[in-house]
């Protein structure tokens, strides 16, 4: 099977979903004539709909359409703008299934591209996933590869409750094959090893692969296993625990500050293992607890170098 870029995998996922379901619509800004022009040509502008800059109403309308059995993809320009739609995401989209005791479903995907490293400054370089981590019934996907991007998207539209789809633009050009079937919400072992498990999502999962590959060329052949989470909520605890029990060591990497999110949660999960299960105390690498500057975000975030040195320390 040919390889495909992360960016194209998202596009293919949208296209294939549109072909499979005539009652799936996309709403967003600058899409019909620009970002999704080929899809508008194929499916028409009644299903690929340009809206005004009204993110709160866009999400609310997707929820309303879902009440009549439609599925919807809401295209938010970048992840920071989740703040504008927060009310609609948390109070409208996430709660409908609960409030109606499942009589209504909400298969709505809210696409939130992570736009850091592109000079947007502190209004455009947030990940924003951890802002939503304590909202029940809200699925959160943060794919780390083209394959994951494709299947996380397809999976999200099958779920009865909404999904925040954090597409990491910094890995848009990375390529992979698309696997033949939907693995559901399962995490992926993208590298296999026996001395350390690195757990990440989005950019940090991709970086973890680079760490494993780089270390393999040094004296750590077959040492580093990588768990790419894909869905960071709900979490595939089984894969996390089985890999960590096997390697005995865990490094959890999160592209946001450490106060909330999957990293501290997974750290707690691992801390609950019986004493002596692991060979070393699990460790978190996260972003600093600070906003990120326009001129360069990198010094304040996990990097290949910081992950490499942490990995070596944990394995030593």
């Amino acid at each position: 099977m040919p390889t495909i870029s992360y960016r194209d995998a998202v596009g293919k996922a949208i296209q294939d979903s549109m072909r499979d379901d005539p009652r799936l619509m996309v709403i967003g800004q600058n899409i019909a004539g620009y970002t999704l022009k080929p899809l508008a040509e194929e499916f028409g502008e009644s299903r690929i709909r340009d809206t005004s800059i009204s993110e709160s109403a866009m999400v609310g309308m997707a929820v309303g359409a879902a009440m009549k059995g439609w599925k919807a993809l809401v295209m938010i320009a970048y992840a920071d703008i989740a703040s504008v739609g927060h009310k609609a995401i948390v109070q409208s989209a996430a709660k409908i299934h609960y409030l109606t005791r499942g009589r209504l479903q909400c298969p709505v995907v809210i696409r939130l591209p992570i736009a850091r490293f592109r000079g947007h400054g502190p209004m455009g370089n947030e990940v924003a996933a951890s802002w939503f981590y304590n909202v029940p019934n809200l699925n959160i996907a943060m794919p780390g590869s083209a394959d994951e991007a494709y299947w996380n998207f397809r999976e999200a539209l099958q779920r009865p409750t909404p999904t925040l789809f954090f597409e990491d633009r910094s890995i848009h050009t990375r390529t992979s094959e698309i696997s033949a079937s939907n693995p559901g919400g399962k995490a992926r072992l993208t590298r296999s090893g026996n001395r350390l498990t690195i757990i990440g999502a989005g950019r940090t999962a991709a970086l973890a692969e680079d760490v494993a590959d780089t270390l393999a060329k040094q004296r750590y052949r077959d040492a580093v296993e990588v768990v790419s989470l894909g869905f960071i909520k709900p979490l595939d605890k089984e894969t996390i625990l089985s890999s960590t029990k096997k390697t005995g060591r865990a490094l959890i990497v999160q592209d946001e500050p450490p106060w909330g999110g999957y990293a501290p949660y997974i750290r707690c999960l691992l801390d609950e293992l019986p004493s002596g299960t692991l060979a070393a105390t699990p460790r978190i690498i996260s972003g600093v607890d600070e906003f990120l500057p326009y001129w360069d975000e990198r010094p304040f975030l996990p990097s290949l170098e910081s992950m490499m040195s942490a990995a070596q320390e944990v394995m030593s």
Partner: protein
Amino acid sequence: MDSKQLTARSHERSGIAWRLYIEMLVTRLFEEACVRWEHEGKMSAQVFPSRGQEAVAVGSCLAMEKGDTVIPSFRTRGAMMAMGISIAEQLREIMHSPLAAGDSRDAPHHSSWPDRGVMPGSTMIGGHLAMAAGLALAMQLDGQGAVSLAFFGDGTLGSGDLHETMHIAGSWSLPLILVCENNGWEMATPWQKVRKHRELVPYAEPFGFATRRVDGNDPWDVYHSARWARATALAGQPAFLDCITFRTGTYSSHFGETRPGIERELTEWERRDPLKRMAEWLIGSGVTSAAELERVRQEEEKRLVESFNQVLAEVKGN
């Protein structure tokens, strides 16, 4: 109120005139009973009585047809009545009967029966209007020939979602009807303190809505306006009904009266009470008599108590 337009059917008990009266009556009796039951410790729900405003919810919903949807606000109990949700079904949600369709998860004024057109509008104020627009969008795309209606109070003018929704719905010509219960107060704040115009038509018109100022205390005006709004929305222009009214009851069973110095207005609006006006219309048209209406009131009171006892038995597992 133009009685000349009415057909003979309107005079029958199954007709619109009778239903306008009876649904408003039952709404008022039910809300009064809920406040009483709450104060007596028989139920714990906070009640937001729609006293004086019943015509807005009842008149609008009776103008809807099968396949249309309605999103109530928190002071439109009459919408549930007019959409055919029984007292027992509503009480099940309030009292958490094991038979409650929604398992009493949502606050009782937001209880929903989606398969019967009563949709959940439970979100932050104004957010439900976007959901109503989404319902309308689905109806438009499906070519269903149905409309989506949502209620809101005039205080919702301050919510960004109202403006975002009107902005998009006007542009997309959605089959959407927005019905404002314009009672001039945001809980304890009179409209003059927080907006420029009492009427909301000037705010809605530029977004591309067909607008109409409605006497919210005249059940016939509300009903005919909602029929016009439905036809307009289906013809390709969303509609906005600005129903001028006044709350003659308390803010809620918990907060009581929140508006100091309104005695003169209360007296004036009591004279325009929609239930009283509808009773006068029915009697004046020879449909019924004062004595018969009194008998109907007693019957409905009795049925309320029967429903309450039935649901209480369900709750107790009898």
